[in-house]
């Protein structure tokens, strides 16, 4: 089905954003843990510049899918294609260096470090100075540090967390931690940003803020985003296309409207309203 999309073509969405060529393609992915099939023969693609959601009931294999994309799980079958080339088996840190960053369902910040240091760690894939130059803090080490600090400060401004720059993340409330985690992922200047339940456990205001940030990231940096979320209102509003999973299988794929009217999806996940 992906052959239908020529590589350089752009389609415009209703709100005027450009959706480009296929950035990442999952082909017939099957993931097993012993005898348990977490993901069964799933294929879908993510196109440049779009917001792609993965939804489904608990245990459907959504987070496993994200872990396959970020290289943490290695599927037994299937291929992962990224930027037009088949991705060989890679360690997670090598995947990160290819330009895939992510946030975690249960916040995985570095509690012992300040907000600033946490976001700076997001840029480690882009930092080059070696041990020796670093230990003497020679020109290159200091220059590099300052250059990256400038970029990080832009992200801090963008996500409006200037006031907590030097606070240890252990002290922050939940909503801010989620935002710092987004900042850390953004700091890597990713081609593809994976968000695992960015809105879980938030109140309405925090959700609104987070939605705004996600849309802004997509809009201003042109970052492709793949996200998992349970809040259907959020998913349907944000996404360009949605993949629906249930028991490790794909049961729906398409625009929010298509998915909303898909009978299999309604049966498995969305349900019908009872007046």
């Amino acid at each position: 089905m992906n052959a239908q999309i020529p590589l350089s073509s752009y389609t415009m969405t209703a709100d005027g954003r450009k959706i480009g060529a296929v950035l990442m393609e999952m082909k017939n992915i099957t993931l097993r843990f012993g005898g348990v099939k977490a993901i069964t023969d799933i294929s879908f693609d993510i196109r440049e510049g779009e917001i792609r959601s993965i939804i489904g009931p608990n245990g459907a294999g959504k987070s496993s899918m994200l872990n396959v994309i970020s290289g943490f799980y290695v599927p037994q079958e299937g291929e992962v294609w990224f930027r037009g080339a088949r991705r060989p088996q890679m360690k997670p840190y090598e995947v990160a260096r290819q330009g895939i960053a992510r946030t975690f369902q249960n916040i995985a910040l570095f509690d012992g470090m300040s907000v600033l240091d946490n976001i700076m760690t997001g840029r480690l894939t882009l930092m080059k100075t070696g041990l020796l130059a670093q230990s003497f803090w020679w020109g290159s080490a200091e220059r590099e540090e300052t250059a990256h600090r400038e970029k990080v400060e832009k992200i801090i401004d963008f996500l409006e967390i200037q006031a907590i720059r030097k606070t240890p993340v252990g002290r922050l409330p939940y909503g801010l931690k989620k935002r710092v985690e987004l900042a850390r992922a953004l700091a890597a200047e990713p081609k593809l940003l994976l968000l695992d339940e960015p809105m879980a456990g938030m109140n309405v205001e925090e959700k609104e803020d987070m939605c705004r940030f996600i849309l802004d990231v997509n809009d201003e940096f042109g970052t492709t985003i793949a996200l998992i979320e349970h809040d259907m209102g959020v998913v349907m509003d944000l996404s360009d296309r949605v993949v629906v999973m249930d028991y490790g299988k794909k049961i729906g794929d398409g625009t929010p409207d298509e998915v909303r009217n898909n009978q299999a999806v309604i049966d498995a996940y969305l349900g019908v309203s009872h007046e």
Partner: protein
């Protein structure tokens, strides 16, 4: 009054990320350095050098080393004594094999050799962590001590099995051997400690340090963010062992002059340095200094009070001293589990707002 951030505006990122962002701290630091280099060497005598200053300086180097590995990178090690022994024996072999090479180079080379050994024993850390890694490094401790006892080549076939530091000069002044003046021992160790502490600070504030801390705080997330756990952990083992090796070399050559490996570098040394960083504060250079000072000074202080002031018998005082030190360690850990460094930080935060509580 003096301890304020207010009005001290930073106009560049370089100024904002300096080690002592508050002016008062900077001045205090310069004063401490000036006294350490400019005043203490003129006043020091043999007792102060041997009982207090030289062991403090050397243990501070070892504590910084272990803090890099355990405090910054989160890899628990009980092999410190063994790695110090590697430094000591490497230094001894180099001193006797190449007597014409300047002594500092021997010390540095001893550090590099220990770094290599440290990397070797750090390899299990790629597979195991926490208590299990502690046990693996414990194996290093016992193996290394056994090795230096059993293989006569390491102690140049001496009849006693001890190694004895030959006399070596720096700029015409003895720094090792029986004739070393107290101030020379002190100054030599101080210069090395000062340089190493500065290097450690640089390493821990930049990208290398962030890699280590990311591994410490959440290794899986660190890997997904792009930290290669192999290089991060092994570089921590290398740098840490480098420091500990230098501490071992100085401990043998400058401080004791002659050592027997099981006595000087046994498991109790590993625990001592580990206590130093736990009491001082994990993941802090200042904490390494504070912990070393605490555990070196406290016994000396207690001994002086108990024997000198109260006139107790020395053996009784020695036993009471052990009990008091042990009790104080427990007391400190209950009151402030994050160590002296945390106490210091809380005090500074309070001071910054003083006289207001918030």
């Amino acid at each position: 009054m003096l301890y304020r951030e207010a009005g001290d505006f930073k106009t560049s990122y370089v100024a904002d990320s300096q080690t002592f962002p508050i002016k008062f701290d900077r001045i205090r630091y310069y004063i401490v350095v000036a006294i350490a280099f400019g005043v203490v060497p003129f006043l020091i005598n043999d007792y102060w050098a041997n009982a207090v200053f030289v062991p403090f300086l050397i243990y501070a180097i070892a504590a910084i080393g272990l803090n890099i590995l355990t405090g910054y990178c989160g890899q628990v090690s009980l092999g410190t004594g063994g790695f110090m022994a590697v430094g000591a024996y490497a230094c001894y072999k180099l001193m006797t094999a190449m007597p014409d090479v300047p002594f500092v180079i021997h010390v540095a080379l001893a550090g590099f050799i220990t770094a290599g050994v440290g990397v070797l024993f750090g390899l299990p850390s790629l597979r195991i962590k926490g208590f299990y890694l502690a046990v693996a490094t414990l194996a290093a401790q016992f193996f290394l001590v056994w090795l230096f006892n059993k293989v006569p080549w390491f102690y140049n076939y001496s009849a006693s099995g001890q190694i004895t530091a030959p006399e070596r000069m720096m700029f015409g002044i003895a720094v090792t051997g029986a004739g070393t003046p107290a101030w020379a021992k002190y100054l030599f160790c101080l210069i090395i400690l000062f340089a190493l502490a500065w290097l450690a600070r640089n390493l821990t504030r930049g990208s290398v340090g962030r890699r280590w801390m990311a591994i410490r705080d959440m290794d899986i997330a660190a890997e997904i963010i792009g930290v290669n756990p192999l290089t991060a952990k092994l570089s921590a083992f290398a740098v840490s062992s480098f420091y500990i090796g230098i501490a071992g070399a100085l401990f043998f050559s400058v401080y004791l002059g002659a050592v027997e490996v099981g006595e000087a570098f046994g498991i109790q040394k590993s625990f001592l340095v580990l206590f130093m960083i736990i009491i001082g504060g994990l993941g802090s250079i200042f904490g390494s200094f504070a912990g070393a000072a605490f555990l070196v000074l406290l016994p000396v202080l207690l001994k002086n009070i108990l024997v000198g002031q109260f006139g107790w018998a020395t053996d009784l005082a020695a036993h009471i001293e052990l009990m008091i030190v042990g009790g104080l360690i427990i007391f400190f850990l209950i009151v402030e589990p994050h160590g002296l460094n945390q106490l210091w930080r809380v005090a500074k935060e309070k001071l910054r707002l003083w006289p207001f509580p918030h």
